[in-house]
């Protein structure tokens, strides 16, 4: 009431073939506020944002900026109206320099000299404290820095409305705080920020207001004060929270009785330094550490995803050689890769084809899975994992992130692995799916499958893992279990405060 | 004047060239005659293959020659090779150039170095004084011979399918000219005139298209043997007779051995040839067996009629195997 609405979206409708993606959704953004847009995957957040930024054209409704009805037909239109976006998936060009990425495609960029915009880019970068040089190739920067460059680009475009779509999903805590400082700064300058994230804590840390969507419809708009976290979650998934908190009770005493399934000694790859590791049947362990600590590289070495350079590997006590993914798969190991889009889904292929892929590869080229067999596998896993898809023949690329992840999970479950490595299976997916995946991990363990679970959210790992391998600077610096499994201890180990955990034996 | 030029050249050219030039004038009459041949590669066509083989056969060691050869379809490479041959000190330079231009400088140098130049197969745009003689084909005469033969058949009407070679090539221009004149003055009716760019399959398509359209024709004039063969394949598939006792007269060019055999079998009616055999004439000129008052010597062109061709014609004039 006290401030004018900066942006008003009224009764927005968006129809995809066979799906009503947005059903008369309202959204209001005021000047100088940070407004969290919440909802499970498939709730319509991304669609709403893409309508706002002109990526999609709406099938109904109107958009007002500063009280004026505007029509947004293309991202360029949106930009001209002061609406800038930083997407969840990096949409910059990795083979251009940081400076080029910040100025590419902007009206005035043609006339500016290279030196000038490099200088300008460096200024902005240093103002925002982004650890990148303007002349650096963007692809050489870490994902986090790439994300921040994208934000810097948007900020520099004098935007009135800044949309941050999952900006923090690949950032570590320090970087997140840096980003929040930046957001608060922008807010004080009157910029309206739409913040889309799955990290509930982060919503409460910076947001003023929350709008919740579910199944393409508006659930409601709330101030942060009137909506406690638990209620937010239940509004998002449309259920009460009772069942959510009752997970993850481990009896660690029993762990040691189980036999060891996989054991590596001095395993190293082109990307991972030598390390020792073992996992028992039915055990869920985790690898944790900051971004770049080597946790992903280590599990990739286990799977043979990178060039293996040394080490001894035993499966069920028998020495085996695993240098290629197919060898790992034949030994009962499955690996869900960190980057779902790049290393996971085959976007243009159907859900069915994506589900049977790994099993088919194990069967070999001469023993195809018949169509009917494949269909029944697909149906079985679509049902079992509750994959939301129009049909099993839908291209997997058109599914929401969480459902894509479930398809890849289905792919590996179908191979009936004895050891499943899940690298960030819950990144960028909605709360409901997250919980489903966590439950699935625990159920697999109950059935005797060994699972390695990696997540940036320590809390999530504490809930699912009975043992945590902590890495720092590409070395294993500690192994936590039992009563040591708590946030403080993990943080201390990651940070290297406590020396008692240094010796893991 | 000439002497002065030669002296000036000797002053600026490398010493080695002067030495070889002197050496040559000293002892040229005793050893084998050194001949450098610059030609297009034999893979270019059946014609060229026969041409190259002919050169190699005539300028053999047995005939008292030392032969150096260079084959390329690129003019600049040919020019370099010519320069090289001059430097090496050949007595005679025989050239079938890729392009008609750009040869002045090299031929002038040849002249100054005392190397005698013969052109064969193709003319070059240079002053006549720069070469001894040019033994070439008269493509237009080739077409004339063929069309004259066709007129001699005294058909009541001429409905001709004209399949042309690659447009703009010497052979196409020469073989098209005489027939085009007949079309223009109305003595013959052009059913279709298409280029198949020497492609047999394309020729078949062209004839097939005419057959399918239902138009009548009684002559196929294909500008090489391969295209004639393609045309005949189309006739065969559609049950149209051809050759000596057939409904359609088939004419080809090049005189490949296999084509002449078709002629002998009566499946075709006429095959014309642009003779690839210039080596003997040049050899005769070099050795002084023959002399010619004309600088440009037109090679005799052959045309064979299915009714009169003999096996010895096939052996003597047929190209290839």
């Amino acid at each position: 009431m006290q401030t004018d609405p900066l942006l008003q979206m009224r009764h927005i409708v968006k129809i995809f073939p066979g799906v009503l993606a947005l059903n008369g959704v309202d959204f209001t953004l005021r000047k100088g506020e940070i407004h969290a847009l919440m909802g499970e995957n498939g709730a319509g957040k991304s669609t709403l944002i893409k309508v706002l930024t002109g990526v999609y054209s709406s099938d109904g409704g109107e958009i007002k900026v500063d009280g004026q009805v505007i029509s947004i037909k293309s991202p360029q239109d949106a930009q001209n109206h002061g609406i800038s976006t930083v997407y969840q998936e990096i949409t910059l060009c990795p083979n251009l320099t940081v400076a080029e990425n910040m100025f590419i495609g902007r009206e005035d960029s043609v006339w500016i000299k290279r030196k000038d915009y490099e200088k300008k880019a460096d200024e902005i970068l240093s103002n925002l404290g982004i650890p990148a040089r303007s002349t650096q190739e963007l692809g050489n920067c870490s994902l986090a820095v790439q994300q921040m460059v994208a934000i810097a680009r948007a900020v520099d475009m004098k935007c009135k409305v800044l949309i941050l779509d999952e900006p923090t999903s690949s950032l570590d805590d320090k970087e997140v705080n840096m980003l929040f400082d930046l957001m608060r700064d922008l807010k004080s300058k009157g910029v309206g920020i739409i913040f889309v994230t799955h990290f509930l804590e982060q919503v409460y840390e910076v947001s003023d207001r929350i709008t919740v969507l579910r199944n393409g419809e508006l659930v409601g708009e709330y101030t942060v004060e009137e909506l406690p976290q638990v209620e937010l979650v239940s509004k998002m998934i449309g259920k009460e929270l009772g069942e959510l908190s009752s997970m993850g009770e481990h009896e660690e005493a029993e762990e040691n009785k189980k036999e060891v399934f996989y054991e590596a000694e001095g395993l190293s790859s082109s990307d991972a330094l030598p390390f020792d590791f073992k996992i028992r049947k039915g055990e869920v362990n985790g690898f944790t550490g900051l971004l770049g600590s080597g946790r992903s590289e280590s599990v990739r070495a286990i799977f043979g995803a990178d060039k293996v350079t040394g080490g001894n590997v035993k499966i069920n006590g028998k020495k085996v050689s695993i240098t290629k993914p197919i060898e790992a798969m034949r030994n009962g190991i499955g690996y869900l890769a960190e980057d779902r889009k790049r290393d996971g889904i085959i976007a243009d292929l159907s859900v069915r084809e994506n589900i049977i892929l790994a099993l088919q590869v194990m069967n070999g080229i001469l023993r195809p899975i018949s169509r009917s067999e494949a269909e029944s596998y697909a149906d079985e896993y679509i049902k079992m994992l509750n994959i939301k898809t129009a049909s099993r023949e839908t291209p997997v690329g058109s599914l929401s992130g969480g459902n894509q992840q479930k398809v890849i999970l289905a792919r590996w479950l179908l191979t009936h692995p004895e050891y499943l490595i899940l690298d960030e299976p819950t990144r960028g997916i909605d709360v409901g799916t997250k919980l489903e995946i966590q439950k699935l991990v625990l159920k697999l363990a109950e059935d005797g499958v060994s699972v390695t679970f990696i997540s940036s959210e320590i809390e999530e790992m504490l809930r699912t893992c009975s043992r945590l391998v902590v890495m720092r600077d590409r070395h294993i610096v500690g192994e936590l279990k039992g009563k040591d499994l708590n946030q403080t201890k993990v943080m201390q180990t990651i940070a290297g405060g406590e020396s008692e955990n240094e010796d893991k034996q | 004047m000439k002497r002065f030029k030669a002296l000036a050249l000797a002053a600026v050219l490398a010493l080695s060239l002067v030495l070889t030039a002197c050496g040559k004038t000293g002892g040229g009459s005793n050893g084998p005659i050194k001949v450098g041949v610059i030609n297009n590669p034999p893979s270019e066509s059946g014609y060229r293959e026969a041409n190259v083989k002919d050169m190699e056969a005539v300028f053999s060691a047995a005939n008292g020659y030392e032969l150096k050869t260079f084959y390329s379809i690129k003019n600049d490479e040919q020019l370099q090779a010519a320069q090289g041959f001059i430097t090496e000190g050949v007595d005679y330079l025989l050239i079938s150039a890729a392009e008609t231009t750009g040869w002045d400088e090299v031929l002038t140098k040849a002249k100054e170095a005392g190397v005698k130049v013969y052109l064969f197969d193709r003319m070059i745009d240079v002053d006549e004084s720069l070469y001894e003689a040019a033994v070439v084909s008269d493509m237009a005469a080739e077409g004339d011979t063929a069309v004259k033969w066709l007129l001699d058949q005294n058909l009541s009407e001429y409905n001709v399918i004209h399949i042309q070679g690659a447009m703009g090539s010497d052979a196409q221009i020469g073989r098209t000219g005489a027939l085009q004149a007949q079309f223009d003055n109305g003595t013959m009716n052009c059913v279709v005139q298409q280029t198949a760019t020497w492609d047999e399959a394309e020729a078949k398509n062209i004839v097939e298209s005419v057959i399918n359209s239902g138009e009548s024709f009684n002559v196929i004039y294909a500008e090489n043997d391969g295209m004639a063969k393609g045309a005949v394949a189309a006739l065969d598939e559609h049950g149209i007779t051809h050759g000596v006792n057939g409904d359609v007269i088939v004419m080809g060019f090049d005189c490949n051995k296999w084509a002449l055999r078709e002629l002998k079998d009566g499946a075709w009616n006429y095959d014309g040839q642009c003779s690839p055999f210039q080596a003997q004439i040049i050899s005769d000129l070099i050795k002084g067996v023959k002399t010619s008052s004309d600088k440009v010597i037109i090679n005799e062109e052959k045309g064979f009629d299915a009714k009169t061709i003999t096996d010895s014609d096939i052996d003597t004039y047929g190209l290839g195997e």
Partner: protein, 360 residues
């Protein structure tokens, strides 16, 4: 049966829309121009066989080599996201090997023809593997890698026989290249059908289709799913090699003559276009062999139509280029999107109109 037609309309037709519309337009155009264009009649050929004849037969027959090459090209395109431009030259090599082996024997019988076919096939597959290794192992762009064979292939073909146009007369060869006595359909057409069936069976009894598409769409993910991407890529080139050999032998057998300079000249561009017209992405990934085959017939029908209109064959290429540009542009994602938008706007406009009318 029912599910099949459903499938065709659900996923299949989308990709095949453009080539099918193109064929339909060409058919309509020809029917207006000359209603007898598509008449087919039986006639006796010079070997005494009763055979089918007419423009339609010429089109289907004439497109045979192109259709077969397009099949293999589709696979390479799908796996490698690039095209093989050496198919014409490689076909000349295969044809020359075929003729060489046949001429080596004193008599020409079925045995020697089969031996010749197998030899030509082997050679074409080796050249295919050569291209495949350059692409898959050395990671050279397919067009650049195959440029090597494109440039030198016809010279290699020349060396094999050492003569410009070796010639073979044999009833077996004319059986391959034109008609088998007693069968009125041109043999090349039957060979195309056979190849299509072989591909169908290949996809039915191996998982090649899935694996190839996976490699083409997302190589990194394919690798992490245990697929030997190098093998799949090389295999696609080797399979194309077989297609090249078959096309080369058809081309050679049509006339019983091989001219290494002109056999299937410039066919590589037509083959690539057939793949594109068939709605397949030239960037690799999902593919439909049937689309490419239809694409080949579109190109041939266009050529035959232009010949029938007595367009000079030098101009045919230019006209073909114009039509093909139109087809490819219409089939491009940009135009498709625009078209979809237009349709939807029309629909919503109509809705608004009816609303307005109701209010009034």
């Amino acid at each position: 049966m029912k599910t099949n037609s459903k499938k065709l309309f659900a996923g299949g037709l989308g990709q095949l829309t453009i080539p099918l519309i193109a064929i339909a337009l060409l058919v309509i155009f020809n029917l207006i121009r000359d209603p007898s264009f598509f008449s087919i009649n039986l006639s006796q050929n010079n070997d005494g066989n009763i055979v089918l004849a007419g423009n339609l037969i010429s089109i289907i027959n004439g497109a045979s080599e192109l259709a077969i090459l397009a099949m293999g090209m589709t696979l390479v395109t799908a796996a490698c996201g690039g095209q093989d431009i050496s198919v014409g030259a490689a076909a000349a090599i295969a044809g020359d090997v075929f003729i060489k082996v046949i001429k080596a024997g004193s008599v020409i019988n079925a045995g020697i023809v089969i031996l010749a076919f197998l030899s030509a096939c082997l050679v074409a597959m080796i050249f295919g593997a050569f291209n495949g290794i350059l692409v898959a192992v050395f990671r050279i762009q397919p067009m650049i890698a195959t440029l090597i064979l494109y440039t030198c292939g016809r010279s290699i073909a020349y060396w094999i026989n050492g003569g410009a146009t070796p010639n073979v007369k044999s009833s077996i060869l004319s059986g391959i290249g034109s008609f088998i006595p007693g069968i009125p359909i041109p043999t090349p057409v039957l060979i195309v059908a056979l190849m299509a069936i072989i591909f169908k069976l290949l996809f039915r009894f191996t998982s090649l289709e899935l694996l190839t598409q996976s490699v083409g769409i997302n190589e990194s993910a394919a690798k992490l799913n245990g697929i030997n991407t190098t093998f799949i890529k090389i295999l696609s080139f080797v399979i194309l090699g077989v297609c090249v050999c078959v096309a080369g032998i058809i081309g050679t057998s049509r006339l019983g003559l091989i001219n290494h300079e002109t056999l299937l000249l410039d066919v590589e561009m037509d083959a690539i276009l057939a793949v594109a017209i068939g709605g397949n992405s030239l960037g690799g990934g999902k593919f439909k062999i049937s689309g490419s085959i239809i694409g080949a017939y579109v190109i041939q029908m266009l050529t035959t139509t232009l010949y029938a209109m007595k367009v000079s064959s030098t101009d045919v290429k230019a006209y073909k280029a114009i039509v093909i540009i139109l087809l490819v542009v219409i089939g491009s994602p940009v135009v498709k999107k625009k078209f979809d938008k237009l349709v939807r706007q029309r629909i919503s406009l109509k809705k608004n109109d009816s609303k307005g009318a109701a209010q009034a």
